[in-house]
């Protein structure tokens, strides 16, 4: 249907055993086949779906930058309706059946923060002081001497990554969309992205894909942005968000 000119190349690379390293270091452009979108005869904007097949000509809209968030939502809904018609048996959770939610970030209140009120005094025994302060005082072990403060920082850091991912997923501008479409328009709360099923063979890509490959594929279409580098902070944040949304769901790589 659509031309996927890089597909053969990518598959060949793996097949020849050019190897993992070639695969790992390949830039975002060459690791994903391109998703070519047909042109409209009237010069209207055409938007394609993540499945690599469904497309929609946006009647009368020639300038993608003129699309508002409301319009973008309408376009997404229309694409989804077309896709649902084509795939009546697809495993697509209705919006009411939401997936497990990650706990929202809740920073510890200042009152319970591991702050020492008095601190040590000239008369306090350092060993005793260390004990009182939890492991806060490093005691001969650089690595492993982790304090309540460290753990609070780790937890908040993970939640922050998830929160940032939530933002990116919902923000067409940060995603680099040229048509005002963001992921949440079809995947409310990250639903139906099934991160727990990766790695798996993705027909659209013609190869085994990681979650990030699929994210990039969707950024190209329908979001119409530039694919992100694997190590792009936005990519990492979105992966963090999508996995966090499935907290508690069984990992089942390769599942369709």
């Amino acid at each position: 249907m659509h031309v996927r000119n890089k597909l053969g190349l990518a598959a060949l690379g793996l097949g020849l055993g050019l190897g993992l390293s070639a695969w790992q270091t390949a830039s975002a452009d060459s690791s994903n086949p391109q998703h070519r979108v047909p042109r409209s005869s009237d010069g209207d904007v055409v938007i394609a779906l993540c499945d690599g097949q469904t497309t929609l000509e946006v009647e009368g809209v020639k300038d993608p930058s003129s699309i508002s968030r409301e319009k973008a939502q309408a376009i997404s809904d229309e694409l989804m309706t077309a896709w649902r018609k084509k795939n009546p048996d697809a495993r697509w959770d209705p919006p009411t059946r939401l997936v497990a939610q990650a706990n929202p970030p809740r920073p510890p209140p200042a009152s319970s923060a591991p702050v020492k009120a008095g601190g040590q005094t000239a008369s306090s025994d350092p060993d005793e002081a260390a004990r009182r302060a939890g492991a806060n005082v490093q005691d001969g072990h650089t690595y492993g001497a982790f304090s309540a403060r460290d753990e609070a920082i780790w937890k908040a850091s993970a939640e922050q990554a998830v929160k940032e991912g939530h933002r990116v997923f919902h923000d067409a501008k940060t995603l680099g969309s040229t048509v005002a479409i963001s992921c949440d328009m079809c995947h409310p709360d990250g639903s139906n992205t099934h991160p727990e099923t990766y790695p798996k063979y993705q027909v659209q890509l013609g190869r085994v894909a990681l979650l990030r490959d699929m994210i990039n594929w969707c950024i190209e279409n329908p979001v119409r942005g530039k694919p992100l580098a694997e190590d792009d902070p936005r990519m990492k944040a979105m992966e963090a968000y999508l996995y966090a949304q499935r907290k508690g769901v069984k990992l089942e790589y390769g599942k369709h």
């Binding site: 702050v115 025994d125 005082v137 650089t142 580098a229 792009d232």
Partner: protein, 417 residues
């Protein structure tokens, strides 16, 4: 759609928790979560005003010649630009003055963490004979009570005459307003891809990659200090000491938990080089010092606990050769095999951590350090590249590519737009 996408519009959650936390508005890049974690209660304006006056008041010293600000000069990013601090009667101590900026976020105070809180910390320099030299807490209290502005100030604040604890609390309250963020790096992280030059971006990638700095100087949105707040022996003290001999001697002298004795040993004697060991008396802590923050590092040289490294190029030479070997060297230290352009990139990145307020100082410091670029006492390229020496570490891997060159940290060769 969701409110959260507005809250995060500036990214990095800088503003996200401000509403429900009681944290003040923090400069770009600082973290309300860390503020909540480390500040028991935000200081009141009255405490801060009194504390600021005390911080800058030379009358807190024995001969009215030295204030906290003498060694932590607000105009010099709260440091003094000297290798080792100079106190009353021009007495030179063993250690370099760290910046007070962001000290409120530290897990412990001092290079060896001997004080647990800012309050605790503030009491020591006033009494140290070679810093501010006051003979006793009582003498400080008497002097402060006799100064009308302080007598009235403390009366108004606490409804009673000042105690030594009150004085320390006021100073600490002021220090909790000494915040540093808003650097070029922070603007870059907040989404302005042009805030950093290509060289600085490559430096940031090296920092997290080949140069392995993030092992100890980790920085992220929640803990943006570029410090793990742990203690490591990176071989600085090994420049001049036989550790085992020194530690054996010290064990006979150090009194358990006597913070004031440790303060004097650290600042006045050769035992300074034992670092964290003086506090814990644990062998593993010999010669280890707290990982310092790297914010404003470009303008707070000279470097290390003893001020022994003059420029950031010297610092890079030290790390490139895997530090100075000694029996207690941290396992995180290994030869890096950085090339000269890579060293320049890391230095450029570190200068990008300067807060906007100190831009003029940064220009001056960069020029000064650059002028010394060909004077490199710490450089040992043969060791750094693994051509000489057996440090027992992994040899540097010349094949490691800078991830930035592969475009992993965003567009570099052809910037967007």
């Amino acid at each position: 759609m969701k409110a959260i996408s507005f809250a995060g519009a500036l990214t990095l959650a800088t503003a996200a928790f401000a509403g429900d936390s009681g944290a003040p508005k923090l400069p770009l890049g600082l973290s309300p979560q860390l503020y909540q974690l480390t500040v028991p209660a935000p200081p009141t304006p009255a405490q801060v005003a009194l504390g600021e006056r005390l911080f800058n008041d030379k009358r807190l010293s024995a001969d009215d010649s030295v204030s906290c600000a003498t060694c932590h000069d607000p105009a010099k990013a709260f440091a003094d630009g000297k290798p080792q601090a100079v106190g009353i009667k021009n007495q030179v101590g063993q250690r370099n003055s760290p910046t007070v900026l962001n000290a409120l976020f530290l897990a412990t105070q001092f290079w060896d963490g001997r004080a647990g809180t800012l309050e605790d910390q503030a009491k020591l320099p006033i009494l140290n004979p070679i810093e501010m030299g006051m003979p006793s807490p009582e003498a400080v209290v008497a002097k402060v009570r006799a100064i009308p502005e302080y007598r009235d100030g403390f009366k108004q604040l606490n409804g009673r005459e000042a105690t030594y604890d009150d004085i320390a609390s006021a100073i600490a309250a002021f220090e909790r307003t000494a915040l540093a963020g808003n650097s070029r790096f922070d603007r870059f992280i907040a989404g302005d891809s042009k805030a950093l030059s290509a060289q600085e971006k490559r430096g940031w990638a090296l920092f997290n990659g080949k140069a392995r700095c993030n092992t100890c100087h980790a920085g992220n949105a929640i803990s943006p200090l570029f410090s793990d707040q742990k203690f490591h022996n990176i071989g600085i003290a090994a420049h001049k000491q036989d550790f085992v001999q020194l530690a054996t001697e010290a064990l006979r002298i150090v009194r358990a938990g006597d913070e004031q004795q440790i303060d004097r040993l650290a600042l006045e004697t050769k035992f300074s080089e034992l670092g964290r060991f003086l506090v814990t008396r644990k062998e593993n802590d010999i010669g280890s010092f707290k990982t310092p923050t790297l914010r404003n590092i470009g303008v707070t040289g000279p470097y290390m606990h003893d001020g022994s490294l003059t420029t950031l190029w010297d610092v890079m030479d030290h790390y490139n050769k895997g530090g100075v070997p000694n029996p207690f060297l941290d396992g995180g230290m290994q030869r890096l095999g950085l090339t000269e352009p890579e060293i320049d990139e890391l230095v450029a990145f570190m200068f990008a951590l300067t807060s906007e307020d100190f831009q003029a100082l940064e220009k001056k410091e960069l020029a000064r350090q650059r002028a010394r670029k060909n004077n490199r006492p710490e450089r040992d390229t043969a060791v750094a590249m693994g051509k000489k020496g057996h440090l027992g570490d992994l040899a540097p891997n010349p094949d490691i590519k800078n991830p930035a060159e592969m475009g992993l940290y965003g567009p570099i060769a052809n910037p967007e737009k």
